[in-house]
């Protein structure tokens, strides 16, 4: 984070001790939102609605009817989650700007816990871009340097947290859309295993890749929020086997596979930062390569383009002008992929999953940088690193798509700043449905890292 803003865990403690009320927290958040309005983090923010929720929370607390540890905390919501009291636009010109009248399952869970739903955040149009430049209300600016992107597509939530407006927010991740902006803004982001978090009421981008999850100011904040994300939801059958979140500890040694080599290049600065962090983490680290990385990336593209084209087909026929020029071209391309193309992509996906499950040896977590290079500027089309020139969109997605292709849980943690003052993130990937273990390992690893870096 930019300044000494309080994280969610600290805000909860302040509420519990009476040092803060929900109203005082919400007023501070509203004031900061005004101060940082130039970041363009919010699509809509209603002072009255926020304060009404905060007053209700304070009343509950005063009467001894507090709903949860996070009752009364303001949390920002990406504008692709349905919310009954706010419009949901996905930052697209193609959707009617009316409140949907219903809540996504995760929003309903958070409301039941007493959270103040604090406005809707800017995102890439339909979540189909990794920089948060392509939004119908304009780009989100990175709080660390406003000439740079926040990363997308959950860039509004990331900027709102990094600037201290709120301590936590909601995002969704189809190729890194939680992790990329979290890393670029120096905060934490967690993508649950596919099928652990309900997608009901989160507007789809690519249904076999999408995972909703939290962005926050610490790993303990993530721990506080995951109970409202994970678990079975009858409205999303992919969660049929999803267990409720339970805090676990990891007391054994941490076996890390650090993925490096061809197709996994990164800048020297990022490489040094990750290696230094791993050395300080006390983990047992082995390096391993991964073949066919470029092919897996194109398989990811085939899946996301075809699933997005399928989902948007009706709207595309009725209202093609409601999509930006670039997104329309992507959706047209997706609709021209053949069944054979998509099946080939799915087979490559299976091969990648087999490789992770069986060919990397024993591991608790797989580690890569979250981004191979620091966030590009708003107008930068190509980035250079590891001897390669790569389109800025592909460089953002470089490592993150592996998490969506496998469906494995991932978390990004900040590990420092570049020479130019931009945040660097490290991505930890756990085994499928072992989200709790991944979080426990991340907490242990970060604790050792902080201790040994002093």
């Amino acid at each position: 984070m930019l300044k000494n803003n309080k994280n969610l865990t600290e805000q909860c403690a302040d509420l519990a001790s009476g040092k803060e009320t929900s109203v005082s927290l919400t007023i501070k958040a509203l004031d900061k939102a005004e101060e940082y309005s130039y970041l363009n983090a919010f699509v809509v923010l209603d002072r009255e609605k926020s304060l009404d929720q905060a007053m209700a929370s304070d009343k509950r607390r005063a009467n001894g009817n507090c709903l949860s540890p996070i009752d009364g905390v303001p949390i920002a919501v990406k504008d692709n989650y349905l919310t009954k009291d706010y419009p949901t636009t996905a930052c697209s010109g193609a959707l009617p700007l009316e409140p949907s009248g219903q809540d996504a399952t995760i929003i309903a869970n958070l409301r039941a816990a007493g959270v103040v739903i604090f406005g809707k955040t800017n995102m890439d149009e339909w979540a189909f871009s990794p920089t948060n430049v392509n939004s119908n209300i304009g780009p989100v600016l990175n709080p660390h340097n406003t000439n740079h992107v926040t990363g997308g597509s959950s860039g509004g939530s990331a900027a709102a947290i990094a600037s201290g407006i709120v301590s936590a927010g909601l995002g969704s991740d189809t190729g890194g859309s939680i992790r990329m902006p979290a890393a670029a803004c120096g905060i934490y982001g967690f993508k649950p295993s596919y099928g652990r978090a309900s997608r009901h009421g989160v507007l789809p981008l690519s249904w076999s890749l999408d995972a909703p999850g939290p962005l926050a100011s610490s790993l303990k904040d993530i721990e506080l929020l995951l109970p409202y994300f994970l678990g079975e939801d009858s409205k999303d059958l992919s969660t049929a086997s999803s267990a409720k979140f339970k805090v676990v500890e990891h007391n054994e040694a941490i076996n890390v596979i650090h993925l490096t080599g061809e197709g996994l290049e990164r800048s020297d600065e990022i490489d040094t930062a990750v290696k230094t962090a791993l050395e300080a983490s006390s983990a047992v680290v082995k390096e391993a390569g991964l073949s066919h990385v470029d092919n897996y990336y194109e398989a990811w593209e085939a899946i996301i383009f075809s699933e997005a084209a399928s989902y948007h087909q009706p709207l595309l026929k009725k209202n093609p002008g409601g999509f930006s020029s670039g997104l329309r071209a992507k959706l047209e391309a997706g609709s021209q992929l053949s069944a054979l193309d998509v099946l080939q992509a799915q087979r490559l996906r299976s091969q990648l999953m087999h490789t992770f499950a069986n060919e990397l040896g024993d591991w608790d977590i797989v580690v890569t940088p979250t981004l191979p290079v620091t966030a590009p500027t708003l107008n930068e089309e190509e980035q250079e690193f590891g001897g390669k020139k790569v389109h800025a969109h592909k460089s953002m997605l470089w490592f993150c798509v592996l998490g969506n292709m496998t469906g494995y849980p991932c978390v990004t943690i900040p590990i420092g700043l570049s020479k130019s003052g931009l945040p660097i993130g490290m991505m930890l990937m756990g085994k499928p449905n072992e989200d709790e273990k991944l979080l426990a390992i991340a907490i242990k690893l970060e604790s050792a890292l902080k201790k040994n870096s002093v």
Partner: protein
């Protein structure tokens, strides 16, 4: 919004972008697969569509 379909042709730039995307993706998919490791099509949660609620 009307249910009527609207025909707005792609621009030259959009058509070129479509061609570029398809060429890029198809080039990436054109590799031999190791059939030994074939998995069912619904790889994440094969039983999900049979779940009774």
């Amino acid at each position: 919004m009307s249910d009527k379909e609207v025909n707005v042709p792609l621009t030259v730039e959009q058509k070129q972008e479509v061609v570029d995307i398809l060429e890029r993706i198809r080039a990436g998919l054109n590799i031999p697969l190791d059939l030994q490791f074939e998995e069912p099509a619904h790889i994440f949660n094969p039983g999900v569509f049979n779940a009774k609620k």
